[in-house]
């Protein structure tokens, strides 16, 4: 779907992309990076709107430098920022955008009605957009990216500004864009956790270089972190500490207290982070807590942020991260 080859973009003072080589296949791909990591620059180049300083990129097999118009006809784009005029209805706006994509008037109207229904806008689509909630606006933005039935959509931070429920709905919708509509998706975010659940494949970039590219299953396998919080009891005044000892004896890799390293000050944090190697770790934690007679307040999978990828990248076992079938490229060498 998307292939780049040592793609670089340099501005007078910053290097936005630095010899980025990517190969993204069909499916839902997450592009993760902190603000300023080069995500938007990459999208701009992929749409053929900004020339790369060096290197090549192809979208749907079309060269971005020479066939930008053909790419833009078959690709949908949902910007990160607000882009909807408040004084027209969703229907009018999306019809207009469909025609801008080259759909004849009748087809534009039919596709608009279909698409708005698929993203979950019904009667409200006849009302001016100004009165919509953020969630509804995001749906309209998604609809305008899908209305011309592209082969690929580029979604820039689609969950921005949404509450947790809206976030989940949007992620579900993005999943459906591929599973039900058959449209491949490249979705950017700065939260790795939320993309893990949605994407088949995750690409992490930082400072314009590729940090990691692998399928989501590998990601979760190598980085599942379990957060455990327990109560204290009379017998064990510091429950966390007691549990830590028991688990360490059982051979579980402790990643430390929340925000501290493994040798962090005892009692400073009450959330124990440990590496889960599989089902048995969950059982072990449960049994250990029960054996100590403590109460288990929480045991949850941690959402990963970019920072954790950095950390595990530095750790020796990160070398074991295999590049996924579709994703190759220079594993980020950051020192």
């Amino acid at each position: 779907m998307i292939a780049t080859e040592s793609l670089s973009k340099r501005f007078p003072r910053v290097t936005a992309l630095d010899r980025l080589t990517l190969d993204i296949g069909p499916g839902v791909t997450g592009l993760v990076g902190s603000n300023g990591a080069g995500k938007s620059t990459l999208i701009k180049i992929l749409l053929g709107l900004s020339p790369a300083t060096e290197g090549r990129a192809a979208v749907l097999g079309l060269d971005v430098a020479t066939e930008g118009a053909a790419i833009r006809e078959r690709v949908g784009y949902m910007p990160e920022h607000d882009c909807l005029p408040p004084d027209v209805s969703a229907t009018e706006f999306v019809v207009h955008m469909a025609r801008m994509s080259g759909l004849p008037p009748t087809a534009a109207r039919e596709r608009t009605a279909d698409t708005l229904r698929h993203v979950g806008l019904y009667e409200e689509r006849y009302r001016p957009i100004g009165g919509y909630s953020t969630g509804m606006k995001q749906r309209v933005k998604l609809a305008q990216a899908l209305v011309h039935d592209p082969q690929l959509v580029l979604l820039d931070e689609p969950t921005n500004g949404l509450d947790p429920v809206g976030r989940d709905e949007m992620l579900g919708l993005i999943r459906r864009v591929h599973s039900d509509f058959g449209i491949s998706v490249l979705v950017t975010s700065h939260l790795l956790g939320e993309l893990e659940r949605t994407c088949d494949h995750v690409v992490v970039i930082d400072g314009g270089t590729l940090l990691r590219s692998s399928s989501t299953s590998e990601f979760t396998q190598t980085t599942t972190t379990l957060a455990v919080e327990v109560t204290d009891s009379d017998e064990h005044p510091d429950g966390t500490h007691a549990l830590r000892r028991v688990l360490a004896d059982a051979g579980v890799t402790l990643l430390g207290l929340d925000g501290l390293d493994a040798e962090g000050l005892p009692g400073a944090g009450h959330i124990l982070l440990l590496e889960a190697t599989g089902e048995e770790t969950y059982d072990l934690v449960r049994d250990s807590v029960a054996g100590l007679g403590l109460g288990l307040i929480r045991m949850e999978q941690r959402r990963h942020h970019i920072a954790e990828v950095f950390r595990s990248e530095a750790a020796p076992q990160a070398a074991a991260v295999a590049t996924a079938g579709a994703g190759t490229g220079t594993e980020g060498k950051r020192s």
Partner: protein, 298 residues
């Protein structure tokens, strides 16, 4: 895709996703669509009822004045021509035209800038040049409708009043050329001013300032120049405001009688300068708009 469950009446339609494999009409079609949408939008068509009021009112005023002139011409005995030249009409009603530009140019471009819809256009097949040409063309066409329609009314009225056909046709043609030039010039200036600010209110005020204040200033200075005996300066001063530019061009080439103090319009030589300035402004507007949209990407 429909799952047939027996009779036609009880057919259950699968409303799953349908892909589109019809034609995609591409860039030229998108540009035409943007042009027609913008042109219709200038008259409030396809927009809310509220936004139809002003453009329709202004258009109505233009036509009403034309109708009154026709009525006067027909009611007055022994008239052989209209009481007003075709070329003078737009000059007399310049305030109405100015208001139209001031209200509709920001509507056409500031909205897209303010609500950041521009990236949505540029992520589609159309390019910068298509966007600028469509917007410029639509605004000029809207102005041409606004200024040409009353001239047409005058012409039809003149023919009904059995005025000389050859004369009337010639003057009407000259009038149409003049308003066409005016439309392109005003559209360019209006859009440039409007595109420089994403705020609609500023846009309206700035367009009014460019069109009316310059005219006020120029005609005041011209008046002073004329009354202090330096009548030769009058035609050159007319170069500094859009409407006097049009006045100058049509006085020099289109048989109009100038509205300058003392009717001191430019001659043919000065007229060439006028024409060049008008053309430079139109080309300049286009260049500025292209520049303005260069960095409005994503």
């Amino acid at each position: 895709m429909s799952a047939d469950t027996g009779s036609d009446a009880s057919r259950i339609h699968n409303i799953g996703y349908r892909s589109y494999d019809g034609v995609r009409l591409g860039r030229a079609y998108a540009r035409r669509s943007l042009y027609s949408q913008s042109l219709r939008g200038s008259f409030g068509l396809g927009r809310s009822a509220k936004s139809k009021v002003l453009p329709m009112l202004l258009c109505g005023v233009m036509c009403l004045v034309a109708l009154i002139i026709v009525a006067v011409a027909m009611a007055t005995p022994n008239m052989t021509e209209l009481p007003l030249k075709y070329t003078s009409f737009a000059i007399y009603l310049q305030a109405v035209i100015g208001l139209f530009v001031a209200s509709q140019a920001p509507q056409s471009v500031s909205r897209d800038l303010r609500f950041k819809s521009v990236p949505l256009y540029f992520s589609r097949p159309i390019e910068r040049v298509d966007y600028v040409l469509a917007k410029l063309g639509a605004m000029a066409s809207a102005l041409f409708v606004l200024t040409g329609l009353p001239l047409l009314i005058l012409y039809v009225g003149a023919l009904l009043a059995k005025f000389d056909l050859a004369d009337q046709s010639k003057w009407f043609g000259q009038g149409m050329v003049s308003v066409a030039l005016l439309s392109v010039l005003f559209a360019g200036l209006g859009l440039v001013v409007a595109a420089l600010t994403p705020r609609r209110g500023f846009g309206v005020a700035a367009v009014i300032a460019v069109l009316t204040i310059t005219y006020g200033a120029v005609s005041t200075v011209q008046g002073i120049a004329w009354s202090t005996g330096s009548a030769s300066a009058v035609p050159w001063l007319g170069l500094f405001s859009p409407i006097t530019l049009i006045d100058g061009v049509q006085t020099a080439f289109l048989g109009a009688s100038s509205a300058f103090p003392g009717g001191e319009g430019p001659g043919a030589a000065a007229g060439v300068v006028y024409l060049l300035v008008v053309l430079a402004l139109v080309v300049g507007s286009y260049a500025v708009l292209m520049r303005r949209y260069r960095r409005v990407g994503l």
